[in-house]
């Protein structure tokens, strides 16, 4: 083992990979380091990798005072969790019907689902905005959540997964007198947990990070999601007070990064698996 690690090729490999890793992490490192610096060390004409004077408390307190960061984070949690819960609630029964029931028009419905996967959310933002405007639900939590409650990709993914579940399992459940609706939640759902988890990771990361739609859908600061909140904070502070701004940015990305570090494999699988749509 030692001989392998010390071979010239392995040393070169680690040298290159570590260099690239350092470059990739630089924006994160610099963001965190800056969030620790006092104003006087931020506007310097030389590189200072570590502050001489730590201003952690000052910067983070200022960030939390000037922007309702807790509110933003809370909104992020509310919106992402509700979106995923509703996506699952709506997609699982539909996926079960498409995979396990025989009925007139099934192929047409499935074709419709496939077509809906192709529609990028940004392309239909204008009519959805007008629809919500006329329905009077712009600038509410509903405006942030409703457009994403239907995930055609989620239906497709779950349907593909349900096809692999043996029919015998469904038949046995019917014999036991479980209703079709009960089969979805008590028989199919438990078998689908891995696929649903992968989809959930993808859904939550995508909607936590989404900027385009929340930017359009809400105006009130108390409804801002983390990305819109931090962008607004930046517009107010533009170029003046980088310490608190970097502190706010650090706070905004921290939850996802920590979750990622705790479950790296799940995140990578979930995002690449579902992100390929």
């Amino acid at each position: 083992m030692n001989a392998r690690i010390c071979s010239p090729w392995e040393i070169l490999r680690h040298a290159v990979l570590l260099t690239v890793a350092a470059i990739v992490l630089l924006p994160f490192i610099w963001m965190i380091v800056t969030s620790l610096k006092p104003q006087s060390e931020i506007f310097l004409s030389e590189i200072r990798w570590w502050p001489e004077q730590l201003h952690v408390v000052e910067n983070y307190t200022k960030a939390f005072e000037r922007a309702p960061l807790v509110r933003y984070l809370l909104n992020g949690v509310i919106v992402t969790v509700l979106i995923f819960a509703l996506q699952a609630l709506i997609a699982l029964p539909a996926a079960y019907a498409l995979a396990k029931l025989r009925f007139w028009g099934r192929d047409a419905v499935f074709a419709m689902v496939l077509f809906c996967i192709l529609i990028p959310a940004q392309a239909i933002a204008v009519p959805v905005f007008l629809l919500f405007h006329h329905a009077g639900i712009l600038d509410t939590y509903a405006a942030l959540i409703v457009p994403f409650t239907i995930s055609a990709f989620g239906i497709f993914l779950m349907r593909q997964f349900f096809l692999t579940v043996p029919d015998d399992l469904v038949d046995a459940a019917r014999m036991d007198g479980i209703s079709e609706f009960g089969i979805v939640w008590r028989v199919m759902l438990p078998t689908a947990i891995p696929a649903l988890t992968a989809f959930g990771v993808f859904s939550i990361v995508a909607h936590w990070n989404d900027y385009f739609w929340p930017l359009i859908a809400v105006n009130s600061q108390e409804l801002f999601t983390p990305p819109v909140g931090v962008a607004t904070f930046r517009n107010e502070e533009a170029g003046t007070d980088y310490g608190p701004l970097m502190a706010a940015a650090t706070v905004i990305i921290a939850p996802l990064i920590i979750a990622f570090l705790l479950a790296q494999r799940r995140f990578i699988e979930g995002i690449t698996f579902s992100g390929m749509k």
């Binding site: 419905v109 689902v113 392309a123 900027y211 385009f212 931090v230 980088y242 970097m246 690449t272």
Partner: protein, 316 residues
């Protein structure tokens, strides 16, 4: 297992023998169940996806403006206006240029790093995770960090350039540099995603192919790469290229926060044009026409991808 099959057959025979109206009723029951299970999904799909797609097409032929008392059909007028608009052409070429920079670079980086990670046995998961962090970190927050790093006077990048004796650059306010700088952030964000897809592709190459290549005299890693790895990764690479192109087409966040399409339209991109027409000037008809153009490009790429998936399934 045979018993189950037998039992099923008997069941089926009984069902066959059952009186026709009972069978019909059973089938009708199933259709009813399916309708109930599918109803929420169908309603929402119609209301939030298919309806809006049709609406965006229709709106692109109207002069609809939010807040205006009336609107009328104007035929192709919006498209004619776009055709004659220099800013729209700038926006389209900038978007294509952005895609043309980000796609090959993020593929090359993703593939190179995947090969390098797989060429050894130590710290593979560690590197994979590090390179994946930008994919999932909130891009808006990271764009703000990049903005400070790119600050002309106090930014880390220019300070580093100064250390090695190179001149400072106005990365985001120089019309020549602004788009490549936005593209560089795009590459930084995307390559980790491509790397993971390549890693999966490399792992799935059967090792006997490499053994055969060695027996055929491919002694160096270099010749084995060209003989085995690259041809075997061909389909994955095309797939990754299409996905990266679709993602790059949707560039918006960095432009909106860092440059607002400037300086002098140097970073104006399709989604940003659509956003400003639709949600800043509320010229919904024109915004819809831009959305249709955007939709055409994305659909074209998606159709290419679907064809590729079909092929892959067919071969396996």
């Amino acid at each position: 297992m045979a018993d189950v099959a037998l039992a099923r057959e008997i069941d089926a025979n009984i069902a066959q023998g059952a009186r026709p109206h009972v069978r019909l009723r059973r089938r009708r029951m199933m259709s009813m169940t399916a309708a109930v299970l599918l109803a929420p999904a169908l309603v929402l799909m119609a209301l939030l996806l298919i309806g809006p797609v049709l609406a965006v097409l229709l709106m692109s032929f109207t002069d609809y403006q939010l807040g205006a008392p009336t609107w009328s059909l104007v035929g192709l007028e919006n498209y004619i206006e776009l055709y004659g608009d220099r800013v729209f052409w700038t926006s389209l070429t900038n978007t294509l240029l952005y895609v043309a920079i980000v796609v090959p670079s993020s593929i090359a980086l993703g593939l190179g790093l995947a090969l390098l990670i797989e060429s050894g046995s130590t710290l593979r998961a560690f590197y994979r995770s590090i390179f994946f962090i930008p994919v999932m970190a909130t891009l808006i927050a990271m764009a703000i960090s990049w903005e400070y790093m790119l600050h002309p006077q106090f930014g880390l990048i220019n300070l580093m350039l100064k250390e090695i004796g190179l001149p400072a650059q106005a990365w985001l306010s120089d019309p020549v540099l602004a788009l490549p700088t936005i593209a560089a952030i795009g590459i930084w964000q995307l390559f980790g995603f491509n790397m993971v897809l390549f890693l999966a592709g490399i792992v799935s190459i059967p090792s006997h192919l490499y053994e055969a290549a060695v027996m055929d005299g491919a002694r160096s890693a270099w010749s084995r790469f060209w003989l085995v790895t690259w041809p075997m990764l061909g389909p994955v690479t095309v797939f990754v290229a299409v996905i990266s192109a679709i993602r790059s087409f949707q560039v918006f966040d960095t432009v909106h926060v860092l440059t607002k399409g400037g300086p002098s339209k140097a970073t104006e991109v399709l989604l940003y044009s659509m956003y400003s027409e639709g949600f800043e000037f509320f010229r919904s008809g024109l915004a819809a026409a831009i959305a249709v153009v955007f939709l055409c490009f994305v659909l074209l790429l998606t159709i290419i991808k679907a064809r590729l998936i079909e092929k892959k399934v067919h071969y396996s």
